[in-house]
């Protein structure tokens, strides 16, 4: 396939509206948002995102009608200088439309959910501008994500890549003046900054890859790059792909750059679902898939990618086991699942990776949003409990707002801590069932979506990469285990906190989108069933990826993975389900696993390690450079003492001692000792001023004559 011909048929001309729709939405909200109601703001944003989805569907339809031939929709000439020609063009092919559909589809659902969530979230009701801000950011995110997936060149992809990083920063730090519990703190903004900076580290890798690409291939445009790639030394391509891997590690939270993602849970829950589970973090997977033609040229790079993914999958899964925060568990789970995807695309199983990307978007969004529903329920429960509490002893506290008095009197209540939950299946039945669907999908139980996609990955690994297969299988075991643990801790047993006891089910605006997602999680597997005649996603992506291996279901692999999952769930029941956790009781695994559990609990101290090895030294070096080197040494000492000091020294001689006087006197003294007979007389020079001036004249004469005669 060469440069895609511009097709005039179909709805391709709509491609720019992928981006413009949300941009218009956010502009409306910026300009008129101050006068619109919360609902209106949310509706505008959701419509904008929905419009994007409609465009995506139309594009997909047009594409299918054109037999999947990729189409490039030129839009704007961007940077033209020398032989660098960068254009902003939209690329519509099966791969990008898949991403568009996921992003705008899941995105729209989350927009709708967020209208309810942001309204319900009583913790933050004091901020009247939150709706406008939130939906502006959310629309911006959709726009950026669309740029990312629809870009026709690596550079446009990078534009979106950084743009979503920005949105991630803005949304993680949405409650920027507090921590996750609503106390005034730097915590949330630190988390946001951490995400941005870590992403930038990854972007650095991407940038270098882009530079290499340009100087090796002379272009950033996908087709041109792939075409030129065959003629280039593999060493260069290895370098490109590995630098790209750094970018992937940053965006898709892989070792060693995953550390920002758990902290990103500081953002509102819809954000965690949309950005930090379903869409943005999968951009790395998309990037590798997009670069399939580069990666397949260099197996050594593929192997590195696969191993990175597999190790991340396992590593993050172990940490998830030791977490207490409902969203943190999901966060590590996301890292782990991203590891699965990266491993898959690393192995060359691009369809499997994309498949898992899609199903994961469904069920992880579902899980996060359900977790948000749980948190809201708990919040409401806490609210009720507080209320009741107050009614019992209303002594003079009535004047204070509840939130404030809550801070004053109690230890701060954490609605996300699973140790405060328990027994929620009774109080929040809808959420419970939705959560169950998500869990089963994630754990990989037949016939939920996760089963099919994960199985495809494992199958591919078992064929070509045994090490990856083993790692991923263990990771799958942990996945099922920590999800089981979560279910038991959250929904079963007895409430461990007043709030859990008073928890309340969420409203339909929250639960209805969840149901849609639940349905998708249940049925998403149908996208690419591993049976002859199916493999629809595979065929769809084949338009873009050319050679796609499609394996039939392998009962051995599928059986093993199902058994492993079931065993893990059983194990979790043994530990957490049979004897539900009591309030205040430590985790039952803590004792038997000892320091291992401590490690899991503390995320294997990776953050601390980074602080010790990178961040603190960087800070120290910064302060050293700024204070000691630049200021005290260079600014003060060198410029003040040496340069200005010399100045002053010279002038002081002038001031105090009269420079030429001193010079001449010194010279006179020297002359005096040199010629004994004259010394006595000449020393008297020092007594008289006019005469020393005359002496100066004489010295001049002597020197000049001396020079002229001697020469």
């Amino acid at each position: 396939m060469h440069l895609s011909e511009s097709v005039t048929t179909g709805y391709f001309f709509l491609a720019p509206w992928l981006v413009f729709a949300p941009v218009i939405g956010l502009l409306i909200n910026i300009i008129f948002g101050g006068r619109l109601s919360e609902k209106a703001i949310g509706t505008v944003a959701s419509l904008a995102s929905g419009a994007s989805f409609v465009v995506s569907v139309l594009l997909a339809w047009s594409l299918a009608a054109g037999h999947g031939a990729a189409v490039t929709v030129p839009f704007l000439e961007w940077i033209h200088i020398g032989d660098l020609e960068l254009d902003w063009a939209f690329r519509v092919d099966s791969l990008s439309t898949t991403m568009m559909l996921v992003v705008s589809g899941v995105g729209t659902l989350i927009h709708i959910y967020a209208i309810g969530y942001m309204h319900e979230d009583v913790r933050f009701k004091h901020d009247p501008g939150r709706f406008r801000r939130f939906f502006v950011f959310l629309n911006l995110f959709i726009a950026m994500m669309m740029i990312l997936v629809s870009g026709d060149s690596y550079l446009m992809l990078f534009v979106g890549w950084e743009g979503v990083g920005l949105c991630s920063f803005l949304l993680i730090g949405f409650w920027y003046d507090m921590d996750t519990l609503g106390r005034p703190s730097w915590a949330n903004s630190n988390a946001a900054k951490k995400a941005f900076v870590t992403n930038r580290v990854g972007d650095f890798g991407f940038l270098i890859a882009a530079f290499l690409m340009f100087w090796a291939f002379g272009s950033f445009q996908f087709d041109e790059v792939f075409e030129a790639a065959h003629a280039v030394a593999p060493g260069v391509i290895v370098a490109i792909t590995l630098f790209m891997l750094i970018g992937v590690a940053g965006k898709s939270a892989q070792i060693p750059l995953y550390v920002w993602l758990p902290d990103a849970m500081a953002g509102p829950t819809p954000v965690s679902a949309l950005i930090h589970a379903a869409t943005m973090v999968t951009a790395g997977v998309y990037l590798i898939t997009r670069s399939a033609e580069l990666y397949t040229l260099v197996p050594q790079a593929q192997y590195t990618v696969a191993m990175t993914g597999a190790i991340t999958a396992l590593f993050a899964a172990t940490i998830a086991v030791g977490q207490y925060d409902i969203k943190k568990v999901l966060a590590y789970s996301t890292i782990s699942q991203l590891g699965f995807m990266v491993a898959a695309v690393g192995m060359g199983a691009f369809v499997a990776g994309m498949f898992h990307l899609v199903t994961h978007a469904f069920f992880k969004a579902l899980l996060f949003l359900s977790a948000g529903s749980v948190i809201l329920g708990l919040e409401r429960g806490h609210h009720h409990a507080e209320h009741a509490h107050h009614e019992k002893k209303p002594i003079g506290k009535s004047g204070k707002s509840k939130a404030e008095s809550g801070h004053d009197e109690h230890e701060v209540f954490d609605p996300g801590d699973m140790r405060n939950m328990g027994g929620l299946r009774k109080t929040m039945p809808v959420t419970f069932w939705l959560y169950m669907i998500g869990t089963l999908a994630l754990a990989g139980i037949v016939p939920f979506a996760g089963f099919w996609s994960k199985d495809e990955i494992l199958l591919d690994a078992s064929r070509h990469y045994p090490a990856v297969y083993i790692l991923l299988s263990i990771a799958a075991f942990f996945t099922a285990f920590y999800m089981g643990r979560q279910i038991w801790l959250v929904f079963f047993g007895e409430p461990r906190h007043e709030a859990a006891a008073h928890a309340e089910e969420s409203k339909p605006i929250i639960t209805v989108p969840l149901m849609v997602l639940a349905a998708l999680s249940l049925l998403g597997g149908a996208l690419n069933l591993p049976f002859e005649g199916f493999h629809q996603l595979g065929h769809w992506l084949e338009y873009t990826l050319h050679e796609v291996e499609a394996f039939p279901l392998n009962l051995q692999v599928a059986g093993v993975s199902t058994l492993v999952a079931l065993f893990a769930i059983f194990l979790s029941w043994l530990i957490y389900g049979r004897n539900p956790l009591k309030a205040g009781q430590p985790d039952p695994l803590k004792k038997p696993l000892g320091f291992i559990f401590t490690g899991m609990e503390n995320k294997w101290f990776v953050d601390e390690g980074y602080f010790a090895v990178i961040i603190n030294p960087f800070k120290k070096l910064s302060y050293f450079l700024a204070d000691v080197v630049d200021w005290r040494f260079w600014h003060d000492w060198f410029h003040e003492t040496v340069i200005a000091g010399t100045y002053n020294w010279l002038s002081n001689i002038g001031l105090n001692l009269y420079a030429d006087q001193k010079g001449i006197d010194a010279f006179a003294n020297w002359l005096g000792t040199a010629t004994q007979s004259l010394s006595a007389t000449l020393r008297k020079v020092q007594t008289g001023f006019v005469r020393s001036y005359a002496l100066s004249v004489l010295l001049g004469v002597v020197l000049i004559l001396g020079y002229l005669i001697v020469k």
Binding site: I79, L84, V159, E162, P184, F211
Partner: protein
């Protein structure tokens, strides 16, 4: 009279008309003076747009030339020679653009000696425009040195507590470099028989060793002005002490005079020497990028932070210029504009908050976004532009520079570009640090402090918004659609690259 009606002459000297007018206005009529200055600078900006309209980007030669013999006796061959081409047009526009903005920013910030201030400011504009337009080395030198004087007063009279120290330091440092350049200019004038830059370029054939010395002499002047590491020591002082408008112009335009000098003079006049020096300049630029970024991060004073960030940003510009390929040089020139816009805007914004709080210490701020949402949002955009976010102007410049440097045959070492790309990460570190500590997080102590003395912090008023919005427009414009900007300079840049004997 024809001389006076040349567009470039008009553009350069029009502010003098404002100066004359102001001279006859009573010093107490502050508002009239402000309006006269503002309108003068706006008309100047209008003239610059007129010049732009007449400019033909596809022509690589000097255009709209105003060339008259000036001093042509006793072996002198000095000309009044103004001209504009793709290398300078953007900077000229930037100068004309930033001046009214800076004047507007002083509306309430400068209450003392408004008359003097405006006079100096307009004089400064004359000097700066002249620097970018002069095509005769002697004329250039006159404008170059002339800019020192008004800026010196702006810092020294309206600056902060250590203003005199800063002003003198600024003056002496920049002069220290430029006097060496003067000698080199004289040498060129003597041996080339002319001071006209195009003629000198056409003559060429300066022996390699002499080229090297001349190159160094010019570099001394420009490198101090830029300032390149390690000659940056005057910058934090000057920036911290200068009044807001002074900082804006200093960062926005005056520093560009240095980088512009490299493009206009060092590269075409001494091509062999420039190629020879490229790896060394690249080394210094890279050190400057990383060093500036690190040192910025450790600052407690927000103006100082921005000042050091300039060291880092201008390191990028230098790296691009000495990449000596179209990407690098065009990126470098565009980055000059970008830096002028974003750092100018940063200084403006910092000045706006300083006007209310009278402190530049970062740690007393915090949580301002909530109290002043408009201010916070604009600050965010400007910060992002400064750290090179795609879609905003900073990225376009930095990316093309790094791309150019990476594949540069003159530098011939990808390590510089890679190390400089690390600077992009560090930019995020220090900019986000600043933004977070001032605008995010819990409310800082300054909020209550200000409340004690009056109404508490207010958000931007209309005048302030009008001041920064033009900058924002360009920040977005260049970021989203830089093509017209590149188109203006591309032919000239490629012509310049063609002149360089790159191995």
């Amino acid at each position: 009279m024809e001389f006076l009606l040349k567009p470039l002459t008009l553009l350069t000297f029009f502010p003098l008309l404002g100066v004359l007018l102001i001279l006859f206005i009573n010093a107490e009529a502050k508002n009239i003076i402000r309006w006269v200055a503002l309108i003068t600078s706006l008309i100047t900006f209008g003239i610059s747009l007129w010049v732009l309209a007449m400019f033909d980007a596809s022509n690589v030669n000097l255009q709209l030339v105003a060339r008259y013999d000036w001093i042509t006796v006793a072996g002198w061959n000095i000309q009044y020679f103004l001209g504009i081409d793709g290398l300078s047009i953007l900077l000229v526009l930037l100068t004309a653009f930033l001046t009214p903005i800076s004047i507007l920013s002083t509306w309430t910030a400068i209450e003392e000696r408004v008359k003097d201030f405006m006079i100096f400011f307009l004089l400064l504009e004359v000097g700066m425009t002249g620097v970018f337009l002069a095509q005769d080395l002697f004329l250039f030198y006159i404008f170059w040195e002339f800019t020192l004087v008004p800026m010196y007063f702006l810092i020294g009279i309206w600056g902060g507590p250590r203003r005199i120290y800063a002003a003198i330091k600024f003056f002496l440092y920049t002069m220290a470099g430029s006097i060496l350049m003067l000698l080199a200019i004289l040498w060129l004038g003597i041996y080339g028989g002319t001071f006209s830059v195009p003629d000198l370029i056409a003559q060429g054939n300066i022996p390699a060793d002499i080229q090297w010395w001349l190159f160094l002499a010019f570099t001394a002047a420009f490198a101090i002005k830029v300032p390149m590491w390690p000659l940056h020591s005057w910058l934090p002082d000057a920036h911290v002490e200068a009044p807001t408008a002074g900082s804006v112009i200093l960062a926005g335009v005056l520093l560009k005079m240095g980088t512009y000098g490299f493009v206009r003079f060092n590269l075409p006049l001494f091509p062999e020497a420039a190629v020879r020096a490229a790896p060394w300049i690249a080394l210094l630029a890279t050190i400057g990028i990383l060093y500036g970024a690190m040192v910025s991060y450790a600052q407690a004073d927000v103006k100082k932070l921005v000042a050091y960030s300039s060291v880092s940003h201008l390191g990028f510009v230098m790296l691009g210029l000495f990449a000596m390929n179209p990407q690098g040089i065009a990126g470098g020139i565009l980055q000059m504009i970008n830096h002028g816009l974003s750092t100018g805007a940063l200084f403006l914004l910092v000045g706006m908050i300083y006007e209310q709080t009278h402190t530049r210490e970062i740690k007393v701020y915090g949580g301002l976004w909530k109290i002043t949402p408009v201010f916070g949002s604009i600050m965010l955009i400007v910060s992002l532009s400064s750290m090179g976010l795609p879609g905003l102007n900073g990225f376009v410049g930095e990316f093309t520079i790094l791309l150019g440097a990476f594949g540069s045959k003159a530098i011939n070492n990808t390590a510089y570009a890679i190390a400089s790309a690390l600077g992009v990460i560090m930019a995020a570190v220090y900019i986000l640090y600043m933004f977070q500590k001032m605008f995010l997080g819990p409310q800082g102590e300054i909020v209550d402090e200000v409340k004690k003395h009056g109404h508490g912090l207010r958000d931007l008023n209309w005048r302030e918004i009008v001041t920064v919005v033009p900058l924002l427009i360009f920040i977005f414009w260049i970021g989203l659609y830089p093509k017209p900007f590149f188109a203006l300079m591309a032919p000239a840049v490629e012509h310049l690259v063609g002149m360089l004997p790159i191995p």
